[in-house]
C-alpha cells in the first residue's frame, strides 16, 4: 500500500475562502500544495497561478508527425509501384490531403491524451490525503507538512473559512 504523505487537508464550501487560503499559501512561498475540485474552475486556476499546460506541445508534435506520416506514406507507396493510370500523375497531392489531414487529427488526438497521462504522472497523487466530497461539492487543499508547521497551516485554513480541517498521518 502507498505511504501516506503527512500533512494537513482542508475542505472549503466557499470559492472565495478557498482562493484566499491558496493565496495565503503562495504568499508563504509554498508550492507543494494540492488543490482538489469537482470541476474545472478559472478562479481556482488563477489563484493557484500555474503556467498554461504544456500538453499543447504534445498536440503539435503528434499533429505534425501525423501530417508528415500521411504525406510520406501516400507518396512512398505510390512511387514504390509506379502505376500510370489515364496519364495522371503517379503521386498527386490533392487526393493525398485526405490522408495527411486524417493522420494529423488521429495522431494529434492520441498524443494529446498521451500528454495528459504523462504530465499527470509527473506529479503523482498517490499517498496524498483525499476526501470523496472533493468530487462532489467541496474544494480541498492539501499541504504536506508536520509538527509546528502543520499547526500553523491548520490555523491559517480555519481563519480563511475552511469547513473542516484534518491531519493526514
Amino acid at each position: 500500500m502507498a505511504r501516506t504523505v503527512p500533512g494537513v487537508l482542508a475542505a472549503f464550501q466557499h470559492i472565495d475562502a478557498a482562493c484566499d487560503a491558496i493565496q495565503a499559501l503562495r504568499a508563504q512561498g509554498r508550492k507543494d500544495f494540492t488543490v482538489y475540485a469537482a470541476a474545472h474552475n478559472h478562479e481556482l486556476e488563477e489563484a493557484v497561478g500555474k503556467p498554461v499546460s504544456p500538453v499543447r506541445l504534445f498536440t503539435l508534435f503528434g499533429g505534425l508527425t501525423g501530417a508528415c506520416a500521411g504525406l510520406g506514406m501516400t507518396y512512398w507507396m505510390s512511387l514504390d509501384w509506379p502505376l500510370l493510370v489515364g496519364g495522371k500523375p503517379i503521386a498527386s497531392v490533392p487526393p493525398y490531403v485526405v490522408f495527411i489531414f486524417e493522420l494529423m487529427v488521429l495522431l494529434g488526438s492520441l498524443s494529446t491524451v498521451a500528454g495528459v497521462v504523462l504530465l499527470s504522472l509527473a506529479k503523482p497523487t498517490t499517498g496524498l490525503a483525499y476526501d470523496p466530497r472533493f468530487s462532489d461539492d467541496q474544494i480541498g487543499i492539501f499541504v504536506p507538512c508536520t509538527g509546528a508547521d502543520a499547526a500553523a497551516v491548520e490555523r491559517m485554513f480555519t481563519d480563511a473559512g475552511s469547513v473542516g480541517v484534518r491531519h493526514a498521518a
Partner: protein, 449 residues
C-alpha cells in the same frame, strides 16, 4: 438599476444534487429500461440471424442485382455515419463556441456518435460479401506488393471512418474520467471497484485539471474539422464518380448538413424517452430541446435548399442523363422514395419555426421519427435511383430490397440501441463536471469573481 437576467441554461441544482441525480441513473434498472433493452437485443438477434444466412448463401439474398450493387447496406452505412455527426457537433463544435445548452445533452449525443459510427463500420464489411477478407480494406500491399490506390474515395473513407471512430471514442472516454471518479466516490461494493479502474486515478487535483482542460480544448479543436471532413469524404464516395445524380459539387456541404440534421433527429428519438426512464427531466429541459430544435431547423433548411439546387442544376445542366435521373426521382418508379425524403426532411423540418412545436416533446418525438425515416430514404434514393438508370438505358433496372436487407437494417438498430442503453445505465449519461462548471460555488463575501 440594471437587472441581471439569469441565463436559462444555468442549471438550478446545487453541485451535490447534480452528482446525486446523475449517479442515481446508474442504479438498478426499471421495467421501462429492461423492456427497451429487450427490444434492442431482439432486433440485434434478427440481424445476427440474417447475417448468418448471408454468410451461408451470399449477397444474392440481399437483392443485389445488376446494375444496382450498392443498395440498402451502403444506404444504411451512410445513414449511421450521418447519425454520428450531431454528437460531435454538439460535444466539440458547440464546446468551442461556449454554448451553454450543450452541457446537459452532449454526453448522450457523444455516446450516440461512437455507437452510430461503430454500427456504420460494420456495413462495408457486410457489403463486401466475403466478410472473412475484411482486412483487405486496410492499406497494406497485396501478394504482388501492389499498394492501395490512394486516389480512390473508398480508401479515403476507410481512413476517415476509422479516424472518426478512434477520435470520438477518445473524446468520449476522456470526458468520462472525472464523472466516473465522482461516481466512484459515491458508490460502494463491486461498482466502486469497477469505477475505480475506469477513473484512472482521477482526483481532480489542480495539476490534473490544468492538463485535462487544455487537452479537452485541443481534442475539441481537432474533432471540429474532423466532423466536417468525414461526411464530406463519405459524399465523395459518390461525387467523385460520373454517375448522374452523384457527380455534384454541392455534395460535401449537402451531406454534412444532412448528417447533422439526421443526427439531431436521432438525439430527439433517444433523449425524449431516456430522460423519462432515467428520471432526469429536470436536467434536460424545454430549453435544451428548443435549442436542439433550432439546430434541426437550421440544418433542415440547408437541406431544403440543397434539394432545390439538386433539381435546379439537374435541369439547368442541359445534361439529358442528369435531367432524366431527377425526373425519375420525382415521377419515375421511385417517386414514393423521392417524395418521402422531400416531405420528411424539407417540409417537416419547417414546422420547427413555431416555438410551441419546438417545446412540445410529443411533437418533437414525432418529427424525429419523420427525420429518421426521411434521412434513410434520402440516402436510399440517392444511391439506388442513380445506379438504377445510368448511361445505358437497356441496362436500367429497379432495386427491390429483400427480407435480408430489412433484417440487417433492423439488426443495426438493435445493435446500436443495445450499446446505447447499456452505456446509459453504466456510465453517467449527463456530464456531471461540465454541469458543475456552470453552477457557481457559494461565496462568503458578496459579489462575483
Amino acid at each position: 438599476m440594471a437587472t441581471i437576467v439569469r441565463d436559462p441554461g444555468t442549471p438550478t441544482q446545487t453541485h451535490h444534487e447534480v452528482t446525486r441525480d446523475v449517479v442515481n441513473t446508474l442504479g438498478t434498472a426499471g421495467k421501462g429500461y429492461l423492456l427497451l433493452l429487450a427490444g434492442a437485443v431482439g432486433l440485434f438477434l434478427v440481424g445476427v440471424g440474417t447475417f448468418i444466412m448471408l454468410l451461408k448463401d451470399g449477397l444474392g439474398l440481399a437483392g443485389y442485382n445488376p446494375p444496382v450493387f450498392w443498395s440498402v447496406f451502403i444506404t444504411t452505412f451512410v445513414f449511421w455515419v450521418g447519425i454520428g455527426h450531431a454528437g460531435t457537433l454538439i460535444s466539440a463544435i458547440l464546446f468551442l463556441f461556449r454554448s451553454p445548452w450543450r452541457t446537459a445533452v452532449y454526453r448522450a449525443t457523444e455516446a450516440m456518435t461512437v455507437f452510430a459510427v461503430m454500427t456504420a463500420g460494420l456495413f462495408p464489411i457486410i457489403h463486401i460479401g466475403r466478410q472473412w477478407f475484411f482486412y483487405w480494406l486496410m492499406p497494406y500491399p497485396n501478394q504482388r506488393w501492389l499498394w492501395p490506390n490512394f486516389k480512390s474515395p473508398l480508401v479515403w473513407d476507410v481512413f476517415a471512418i476509422s479516424t472518426y471512430l478512434t477520435v470520438s471514442t477518445t473524446f468520449l472516454c476522456v470526458g468520462l474520467v472525472p464523472d466516473v471518479a465522482a461516481a466512484r466516490d459515491i458508490m460502494s461494493g463491486w461498482r466502486q471497484k469497477v469505477y475505480r479502474i475506469f477513473s484512472l486515478g482521477w482526483k481532480g487535483t489542480d495539476n490534473q485539471w490544468r492538463h485535462y482542460s487544455r487537452a479537452y480544448l485541443y481534442l475539441a479543436a481537432l474533432a471540429t474539422p474532423l466532423v466536417l471532413s468525414v461526411h464530406s469524404i463519405v459524399s465523395w464516395d459518390f461525387a467523385m464518380s460520373i454517375i448522374p445524380g452523384w457527380h455534384g459539387t454541392i455534395f460535401a456541404p449537402y451531406f454534412v448538413a444532412g448528417a447533422i440534421y439526421s443526427g439531431v433527429g436521432m438525439v430527439f428519438t433517444l433523449i425524449i424517452p431516456l430522460r423519462k426512464v432515467l428520471k432526469i427531466e429536470h436536467m434536460i429541459t424545454d430549453y435544451h430541446f428548443d435549442n436542439l430544435a433550432k439546430l434541426t431547423l437550421f440544418t433542415g433548411s440547408i437541406l431544403f435548399y440543397a434539394y432545390l439546387m439538386e433539381y435546379f442544376i439537374g435541369w439547368y445542366s442541359g445534361n439529358v442523363f442528369e435531367q432524366t435521373t431527377f425526373w425519375r426521382r420525382a415521377f419515375g418508379p421511385m417517386w414514393w422514395g423521392g417524395w418521402t425524403m422531400i416531405i420528411c426532411n424539407a417540409f417537416v423540418s419547417q414546422l420547427l419555426w413555431f416555438r410551441r412545436i419546438r417545446t412540445n416533446l410529443t411533437s418533437l418525438f414525432i418529427i424525429s421519427i419523420f427525420i429518421n425515416i426521411g434521412m434513410w430514404f434520402e440516402r436510399y434514393v440517392i444511391i439506388t435511383s442513380s445506379l438504377s438508370n445510368d448511361f445505358l438505358p437497356f441496362a436500367w433496372s429497379q432495386m427491390n430490397p429483400t427480407w435480408a436487407d430489412w433484417g440487417i437494417l433492423a439488426g443495426s438498430f438493435g445493435w446500436f440501441g443495445m450499446w446505447f442503453l447499456l452505456f446509459a445505465r453504466t456510465f453517467p449519461v449527463v456530464a456531471i463536471q461540465e454541469i458543475k462548471e456552470q453552477i457557481p460555488y457559494p461565496r462568503l463575501r458578496k459579489g462575483g469573481h
